[in-house]
Symmetry: C2
Subunit: 394 residues, 2 copies
Amino acid sequence: MSVIEIPDGSPFGVGNLPYGIFSVAGARPRVGTRLGDTVIDLSVVLGDTGEDAAFAASSLNAFMAQGPARWAEVREQVTALVGGDVPADALHPVRDVQLHLPVEIADYVDFYASEHHASNLGRLFRPDAEPLLPNWKHLPVAYHGRAGTVVVSGTDVVRPCGQRKAPDEQSPSYGPSRRLDIEAELGFVVGVGSALGDRIGVDEFAEHVFGAVLVNDWSARDIQAWEYVPLGPNLGKSFATSISPWVVPLAALQAARVPLPGQDPQPLEYLRGRRDWGLDIEFVVEWNGEEVSRPPYKDMYWSPAQMLAHMTVNGASARTGDLFASGTISGPGKHQRGAFIELTWGGREPVTVKGEERTFLLDGDRVTLSATAPGPDGTRIGFGEVTGTIRPAR
Amino acid sequence: MSVIEIPDGSPFGVGNLPYGIFSVAGARPRVGTRLGDTVIDLSVVLGDTGEDAAFAASSLNAFMAQGPARWAEVREQVTALVGGDVPADALHPVRDVQLHLPVEIADYVDFYASEHHASNLGRLFRPDAEPLLPNWKHLPVAYHGRAGTVVVSGTDVVRPCGQRKAPDEQSPSYGPSRRLDIEAELGFVVGVGSALGDRIGVDEFAEHVFGAVLVNDWSARDIQAWEYVPLGPNLGKSFATSISPWVVPLAALQAARVPLPGQDPQPLEYLRGRRDWGLDIEFVVEWNGEEVSRPPYKDMYWSPAQMLAHMTVNGASARTGDLFASGTISGPGKHQRGAFIELTWGGREPVTVKGEERTFLLDGDRVTLSATAPGPDGTRIGFGEVTGTIRPAR
């Protein structure tokens, strides 16, 4: 039996206890949590090793489907366990494990919930028109992304090829994207779904949503700009979406709840919660190890609960494993923009990265998003990171 | 042992042999084929009843993943079998079985491949602009739909609620869709996927695609019109997409292959196949039992192989169970339009259904799509039907 040491100020303290899927050499993936720099095998400590066991599983889906009462019970058990001695065979240094995609993704929906981001992109993509389209303040605009290309942090991103056409070109050409970009987002994972024809009310968020992850929704701006009318982004986004390996449970985000910045006009009733909230999560965007931006999640216009309510208001069912992401997080300041197209204003205002002027991503570039939030008792909890390196087009 | 009788002119002759998932009372779903009005239990006749068996399965995914050599082998075996005596316990009258969703859908992508449809919708949605947007003849435009709401024929469709705003209204209102519509489409099911970063060439279609189904992509035009800028359709489509229970294998569609109607300008090289083809499939749209339209698939501008090549040209992986659909099939004639918004020109030119003037769908309406195609030796093969009834909003 061992006592787990937690380094001072670790963002993985007892108030966090995120869930992930890990493996060690020669063993099958299973569910773990992280405390300090230690991964705890939950299939060992919770004694759940039968064939259908939710913790001896290669995704969190079975556990997530068990619902909020079970989530609370397990969190209580794990909290109690890590306060004492833990069987040594359940413990692995985080550097010794491989982390896997934590969730088998069902549908992936990507929102557009930052007013600053939507306004910036409106100015860049449609310079002669109002930056926000007429629907934007009435509903949380979103589209479906490609679930099959959601990958775990650390997965390389092959530069996508496709059709690009600059405004001054007569016809499109084919080739590797020249405007490869990131989008720093927060993603929410559905644990308990809903039936076809039903809807999830704006106050029922916590009965359905299991937790949150960091999302980097890689974007090829040149491919996107040419393809996106009238049916929205497709190949400019579908080549890869990276998520962090640790799913931070909603319960760990209690202290991060903040009021929304304010909505005007007041949204329709199905989007009005009794006590709706945003989240005070601070993102850091690093480009080849250098911080280039700090997007603030607390400035997001639409709340997570509004996103889920809107997504199902038409009776669309939700499923265990559905992932919905916030869209790019951008604050009002230049240093708060969560995409390089905004940060460099369409490539016209380069930023300095490791002493070089940079606009979009080059082969070999590495982007890492991380985030922290207020935790219990004045601590801070962390989401860890989502990282990826650009490989040359094939 | 029994010999299966095939009614004269049956669209389910020996040249068809589609695959589906069926169950009889008290038994688990399994893979079957249909000959005449008889469903043949393939888990019985192919002796494949082990636990991991591809035919004693509740979806076609395991069989589809086995690839084209195995598909050909099984088709040959089944063709030989049904020419002789078949064990009686493998046979069920089609009226006695329940048909299930045949495929566990991975990602669902919906194209926009009919020039007539895209032009009609352009005129209706953007009356002051060119009907086709500049990218339309350069790439097969598409978006991702909601995989979790793909349902099997016969599933009721609950009228969706959402935000609608007519052009003359100041702000949106919430309520049941008043412009509920259909889209008659053909869908293709991926059997063998591709790795992340790879692409599927336009001549590699048959190595990946297992077969085809009928698709009714139900659409709430009022919700769609308000929400769809700039990220494309979302709630106007995500509430339900119905597919036919029988997947017609590519091998059965050999005689239906026809040249494409012609593409001008010539598309970029990755979209140019050595011998690309369209399909001569005739759809029939019935509204409450009355034929209102006969959309011709052979007029589609983009080929199925071009759709798949485009979908993966950016390195997006494909997975077993991916469904990609053609988008609404509309021909040049009014009676060839595959959506009611086109057939009734935005609701301004009602059609007569059972003696009543009709525009969009009312509660209780039933829409049935069916389709046939040339089969071997001058026969015709059928896709069966995809049907659904509108239930009142909840």
